[in-house]
Amino acid sequence: METALSPAFAAFLRNARPELNARFAEARRMRPDLDGDAFAAFLRDTADPLVAAVAAVSPERAADVARAAFELGLELVGQGLAGPAAREPAVEAGWRQVAPAVASLVAAEPERVLAAIGNALHRLASTPGARPAEWLAAMEQLGPRCADANAFLALGQVAAWRAGMAHYRAGALAAADALPPALAMAALRAAGDGWGEVRGWLAADPWYDPSALARPGGPRVVARAGAFRGFGGLFVEPPVATAAGDHFIVRSGDDGWLLTADAFGATFHRATDAERARRGPSIIPPGVTARGTTVEVNGARLDVPEIGEIAGVAAAGRTLALTSAWTHAVILVALG
């Protein structure tokens, strides 16, 4: 196996063999399920290309990166997040796709950058509604434009928002301010206009999509969030929504979820007991009515026959959540 490895990684493994063997034995003691073959596969398929990429740009940092990859790899494989039988392939994919693309940043701060990539993908993959593949693609493409690890991490935050993590909206917007405007625009796939103007629209309207050429007006269906559990969704029965600040609490059976949504996506978070206990009628803005299968906003009508008769309406900020007995999704309507 060793002959197939890159010279830099092979040299590291050879030089530190007793220490690395002891580390593996120690890790296995804590995690008896740590599979030696899976870890070897991780080293060969993931760590080695990364070390080779780093050796190409900073040969003197290759050993440090190899050590960091070894240590973090023990954790990932031990937790079933990397290796051939990984339960979340996205985490290792990040190390294979993104990390080599930003080899100079990894060389400078290996633990920080590698852990950030792994943790971000783990979080994206475990957040219902988020799109880790989109984050991977964006970071692989734009990561090399970052001057240092701080910029890379800020870019990752903006890209996570763009990949559906709507609940990070406020923080990601602030992170985007720290990036060069062109990079911020690229991360949000913003078309035309300058960053200042795009930022203004983003701050004002959660349903503003910077990649769209035109800004639609009037009430419109902007998202269908959630699905029947039997089809991989969260809900065991048609949900009911109530407003909670800028978000919604969605109840289905005995479960409760906090729904956050904007133009980039909708994510569900397990509701706390206090949130689940919150009851009471939602306040619908003046000028908004829902009757039958139709929503009317200041005279503008929106028909949603596909969900049948609207059974519940809740309003949070510029968003209306519609639920019905016919669907396990929450229909989100932008109020224009």
Binding site: L76, R123, D273
Partner: protein, 527 residues
């Protein structure tokens, strides 16, 4: 980063999550928190709140360092599952809320409050290892903690314990203050460990008492002021099985006693893995759970600030009232206490034989040979606050008090094993189970409190609250009315009611109030 040590993993998620009171907010920095430990950034470097850090330390110890699968400090947030097993109908409870192992929890609370904890139990059960861990939590290197640990032995002298005068000075000095003392380094540590303290000779125990009780050491008129410290003592048998009997004052200085429970052979594999890996937990304590001196200072402040609600404090008052009263110990009211009998050297059995009229089974005071000291009550409050803080609560709950009580009173409230309670069928087990007995007697006291409906109908509390509002502006007529109210209450209580400990204390309060009003009335007449 250093080596990512699996042993050094600390619980990342909140160890005892509480529902947030405010609307949910999301921090984009969460994106980079996950299964992989990374170097702390600025925000993380500030560290978690101290209660969370304390819980992280607890869970690291129970999950990684000490094999202690005993959850004897039980909490429930709903009805627990309970099962009866065996011929003696032993009850096994599966708690419905996060519960803890006293062998780890109490030492940790001792660390947080800088009190004194005694580990008891057979040899080789982890007593010394636990104490060592506490030293490491305080930031000392393992080697330093080991070296500073004092091992009790029958030849231990005061000089062994405290230090020596420098020999050259002993010869050359003209005045005693010219003799320099080489103090032992352990005196300056914030975690002090005395191994097998019941093997220390009596005279050396007295020197130890000064350090433990008054926080200074003295040799040849030279005084060494010790810093505030958490103390850990170990004993294979705290009830007199050591080489020397432990002097009572020294025992009294110990705040909590925890028992090292037996090793469960089902965990043999963990033990074997530890042997094979040759890893000592105290050598790999994660830095995230090491407390600085300032943090422990802050811990103490934050623990002290946890309030005890009135109804919880009142139940402890009622419980504490049960034990000191001894009707036949004296003629004068104030001296009708067990302490009076003890000071007189009275024969306990002869004294209890004189008791008549009261239901000795119902009277909780009959179960003990002594009462509770002020120091013990203070300790109870401190540990109850510490437990509430540890659990992330903002106020002390009755259950916090109930759970720490047996460990604080373990050696302080002495059972009278000849009392009818201990011979009642079902209660024989309490002759050996001190923790169980103390919990039971507290439960019985609380049940009695509920039965008497003292939360709603407590005339003494009402009268005392009235007095605490101050005497300014209280007229002569009003004073007389209050005096009459007190006398009327005493008259009512004197009509055929049996005397119990709580009534005795209440009557002392009434006498106190009566005296204060009498003095005030006299002063009013001179105006």
């Amino acid at each position: 980063m250093g080596l990512l040590d699996a042993l050094q993993r600390v619980s990342q998620s909140p160890t005892n999550p509480h529902a947030p009171a405010a609307p949910r907010t999301f921090d984009v920095a969460e994106l980079y928190r996950g299964p992989l430990a990374a170097p702390a950034d600025g925000a993380q470097a500030a560290g978690p709140p101290l209660d969370e850090k304390l819980r992280q330390a607890y869970f690291w110890i129970v999950n990684t360092a000490i094999i202690s699968p005993h959850y004897d400090v039980e909490f429930n947030d709903g009805p627990p599952q309970s099962f009866t097993l065996g011929d003696s109908k032993s009850r096994l409870t599966l708690p419905s809320a996060q519960s803890y192992s006293s062998f780890v929890l109490l030492p940790l609370l001792t660390f947080a409050t800088r009190r004194k904890c005694l580990f008891v139990g057979g040899p080789g059960r982890g007593k010394t290892a636990s104490a060592l861990l506490m030293g490491v939590l305080a930031g000392y290197p393992v080697r330093e903690v080991r070296r500073a640990m004092q091992h009790g032995h029958p030849q231990m002298t005061v000089a062994d314990l405290l230090g020596n005068p420098l020999p050259a000075d002993l010869v050359a000095a003209q005045r005693i203050e010219d003799i320099r003392i080489a103090w032992r380094s352990w005196l300056g540590m914030r975690v002090k460990i005395i191994d097998e303290y019941n093997r220390i000779p009596t005279r050396t125990q007295s020197a130890l008492l000064t350090v433990m009780g008054d926080n200074y050491a003295e040799i040849l008129d030279h005084v060494y002021e010790c810093p505030e410290a958490a103390w850990y003592l170990t004993a294979n048998d705290e009830t007199g099985g050591g080489t020397y009997p432990v002097i009572e004052a020294l025992r009294d200085r110990i705040d909590v006693i925890v028992q090292a429970l037996s090793f469960n052979p089902r965990f043999m594999a963990d033990l074997l893995a530890r042997i094979e890996a040759n890893v000592r937990p105290e050598e790999v304590v994660p830095r995230q759970i090491v407390f600085t001196e300032a943090e422990v200072d802050r811990l103490q402040d934050e623990i002290r600030a946890v309030p005890v609600p009135g109804d919880v404090g009142r139940r402890l008052e009622f419980f504490a009232s049960q034990f000191e009263f001894c009707e036949v110990a004296a003629e004068q009211w104030e001296y009708k206490t067990k302490d009076t009998a003890r000071l007189a050297g009275a024969d306990w059995n002869a004294l209890t034989a004189l008791e008549s009229g009261r239901d000795r089974l119902k009277d909780l005071g009959c179960q003990s040979r002594n009462g509770l000291s002020v120091r013990v009550l203070q300790t109870l409050f401190i540990y109850a606050k510490a437990l509430a803080f540890f659990r992330g609560n903002r106020v002390v709950e009755l259950e916090d008090l109930r759970q720490v009580l047996p460990f604080v009173l373990h050696d302080k409230l002495l059972p009278d094993l000849d009392a009818p309670f201990f011979t009642t069928p079902g209660n024989e087990v309490f002759r050996t189970d001190r923790v169980g007995w103390l919990r039971r007697v507290f439960d019985l006291s609380c049940a009695d409190y509920e039965r008497l409906d003292l939360d709603r109908d407590d005339p003494v509390s009402t009268l005392a609250a009235e007095f605490r509002r101050g005497l300014g502006g209280v007229t002569e007529a009003e004073t007389r009315a209050r005096l009459v109210a007190i006398e009327r209450l005493v008259t009512e209580w004197s009509r055929g009611r049996k005397l119990y400990g709580h009534l005795y204390d209440d009557l002392l309060v009434l006498k106190y109030l009566h005296q204060r009003y009498t003095n005030y009335l006299r002063w009013l007449k001179t105006q």
